[in-house]
């Protein structure tokens, strides 16, 4: 197993390098100009100077090489230095990846925004899973019952109605009409007391529910289908004929086997948490990673877009590996060595 993991990690390196180059090339070739959103009162000579100050006069391969050095050497060294106090090399002269819009290190922006994204998107993912699994089980076990029909109906609504609709409806009902929850997410709130905790819960309820509803709708369908596949198999009949209780048959035999594809799906979905929920973040002003990405794209802030998309690429490659490893652990029939 360890051997397999190491082999996969090594194979990931050239893959990631190619990905990083492709991202860089696409962004570089795409039209767009970081000075394009400046007011029209800024004259062209000044725009040219700004472009020069951002290093846009250098040719593409040199900029790519600089980015590689900054991303793979300078930034990790910087993290080492700040988290563990280990200084390697010339810490002063090290250049970091700077965002063109904020002129601040991109990695710092990402670190600053990760907590709210993890809280809101991560929690909704978790809630979605926790809702979807039991719902899926019950729906499959009582197939075509009223419960199943209602569940299917709700799930269909859940993933056919986009979050930019449910989110706005939630705001109109719960913020504007009922005034239960705030419509603006306060990222500066620190949970230090019970009152703050209540406020934090209040401001998270709407975005988390909207997203969790969406996640749960999709996942519960998979869960239901997976259990249905297993319920008719021979081993289930065997277990029943052995005289095991229905509960044990369902929760031990069927559930474990049905979870295999669902777990893979869940693992593969984790990188999307870090991608943030662009639309939901925008609606509730959570201002997490999704909002960072969309603002960077709008403002042609190429270093930020490049770094963020590449980090997503790393996460996707990594979680693919994790999903494969999990698969082997859940299903003893699969061996990698």
């Amino acid at each position: 197993m360890v051997h397999y993991i190491i082999r996969r990690l090594l194979a990931a390196i050239p893959t990631l390098l190619v990905i990083s180059f492709v991202i860089f090339a696409i962004l570089d070739l795409a039209p767009g100009d970081p000075t394009g959103n400046l007011p029209m009162t800024v004259p062209p000579e000044v725009r040219e100077k700004i472009r020069l100050s951002l290093g846009l006069d250098e040719s593409m391969h040199i900029r790519y090489y600089k980015w590689l050095i900054q991303f793979f050497i300078n930034e990790p060294l910087n993290i080492l230095q700040h988290s563990f106090g280990i200084t390697i090399g010339d810490a002063e002269g090290r250049t970091r990846i700077l965002s063109w819009a904020t002129r601040s290190p991109v990695i710092d922006l990402i670190i600053e925004r990760t907590p709210q994204t993890l809280w809101v998107v991560g929690l909704s993912y978790l809630l979605g899973i926790l809702m979807a699994i039991p719902i899926g089980i019950v729906q499959a076990y009582r197939q075509y019952s009223l419960l199943d029909q209602v569940g299917t109906f709700v799930a269909m609504i859940g993933f056919s109605v986009p979050t930019f609709f449910t989110g706005v409806v939630a705001i109109l009902v719960f913020s504007v009409e009922l005034k239960w929850f705030p419509m603006i997410y306060d990222t500066t709130l620190e949970v230090t007391s019970w009152d703050n905790f209540i406020l934090q819960v209040k401001q998270m309820i709407m975005p988390v529910t909207v997203l969790a509803f969406y996640q749960a709708s999709q996942l519960s369908r998979f869960m239901r289908a997976s259990i249905l596949d297993n319920l008719n198999l021979d081993y289930v009949r065997t277990a029943r004929s052995k005289g095991r209780s229905e509960r044990a048959v369902l929760m031990i035999h069927v559930l474990r086997n049905s979870l295999i594809p669902v777990v893979t799906l869940i693992a593969l979905g984790i990188p999307t948490i870090f991608g943030g929920a662009i639309i939901t973040e925008q609606i509730f002003r959570v201002n997490g990673l999704g909002q960072l990405l969309i603002i960077a794209i709008e403002g042609a802030d190429i270093p930020t877009v490049q770094t963020l998309t590449f980090l997503f690429a790393i996460l996707i490659v990594l979680f693919n590996l994790i999903a494969d490893v999990l698969y082997g652990m859940l299903d003893p029939r699969i061996r990698y060595d």
Partner: protein, 572 residues
Amino acid sequence: MRKIILLVIGFFSAISIASTVSAAEQGRDGELKLLYWQAPSTMMPYLSGGTKELEASSLVIEPLARYDNNGKMHAWLAEVIPTVENGGVSNDLKSITWKLKRGLKWSDGSDLTSADAVFTYEYCTHPDTGCTQSNYYNDIVSVEAPDAHTIQINFALPKPFPYSAFVGFNAPILQKAQFEGCIGSKSQECTEQNFHPIGTGPFKVVDFKPNDVVILEANTLYREQGKPAFQSVLLKGGGDATSAARAVLETGEMHFAWNLQVEPEILIKMAEGGKGTVITGFGTSVERLMINFTNPDPALGNNRSEYIGGNNNQNAHPFLADYSVRRALSLAIDRQILVDAGYGFGGKIGCNVLSAPEFYASDSNDECKTQNVDEANRLLDDAGWTHGSDGIRAKDGVRISILYQTSTNSVRQGTQAFIKEMWKAIGVETELRNISASVFFGGDIGSPDTYQKFYADIEMYTNNFSGTDPETYMNSWTCKEVPRRSKNWGGTNMPRYCNPDYDALATQMSTTPNLDERIRLAKAMNDMLMQDYAIIPLIHRAGVSAFSNEIEGPRGNEWDSELWNIADWHLK
């Protein structure tokens, strides 16, 4: 008894004094919540030209003089506005001398001196800083500090309007001590300084999260006693304009929301809720159609939309070079429909490209206020443009078929659709095109879709000028400003309008210091452009904001920061 009465009176007057003192105490009104749906990405105005960053930084750093909501200049850090009359501006118009107010302190306790202004000039004009506001420091030979309170700016040429350096929210004064190490290419790396500039303004930065939120608290060393009334400011960003309006006008969660480009009917409905007030500030922004005087035909290759000049412009546009066509296009437009459908609070009919300040606005172009389809048809008939079998007018094989481009933006696409229909009524065919703003305004030489290259017949966008003096703006349409291939399409004369009479007026204006005379010249230039239909103005646009009924103080301001008078804002 008398003593007792005196005592009682004394007691009450003491109370009333005490209460007025406490009412005028700084920070008495708690937290002020501002909502900027376009969030500021830095607090450093010199590294970002965006209005959102200028607005945010105006809470902290200040200029020598700033404009009020009527476009009138007020001395801010300076004692008075220097003029030729009070001796502050030299008679040859080549130098201006500002005097700082006495006793000004930075929020860290050190003194503000003229050395800070000199430093700010050096910072912004350093070639490697990439200063986005460097045009505010144009034509300056030197900035000197004869003493700690005097700033003397020397110009290379006579400046009839010398108020651009250190005036308005575009050009505030930085603290030398803080930014000394951040000049030139180092400016990019000074994240800490750029996010937390030390200023003289009513607030200072406590925490800055780029593109998300800014937390500020009252500057205890602010020069005016008892101001600001608010102890802290939360400037939240993100989201969209509609929900920003909702947060002020419907839920009342926020006190002030900026830049509310919201569908008019929605905003009107929200404003009826009675929780807040919508304010508009009319500045210099005018949404206009630019007419291409040159031929954009792709078959011309390198000469596409290229001004060649010569006798009657050798590369003239096949039909827009005809005055009757241009005038008919303008007459056919019902501007009121465009205002009602797309702008509401945020616009009114615009008939001038120079429509503000008020005293610069010409009233001789009011023909545009009413649509006149009959007159437009008559003009085209008289000029020989006859209807073809497809209903489109043509003359000598040239059909009036217009490619009309603009940036991607739902209001603009709505306007395009209306105008297309209006032009159809006079037998003009229109093809619509929209281009992403970062490409259209981006100036990428490799892209064929920039507004400078103008590979279309007509293009639409808004332009404005900052400050209140239109000289540079009106110079935009002189012959030397025509974008050309040889200049990498640098230049501001998008219509490629080249008229020696216009250039003569521009030259005259550059040497005229007298305000009345300048107004006459600027109006004449505006009228020439309007009556020649080189530019067809559509909408005089306003900035739209909203504030909650809980607070008092906001006055929309298009000349400077909307937060220019935030020291005076207070709870009701």
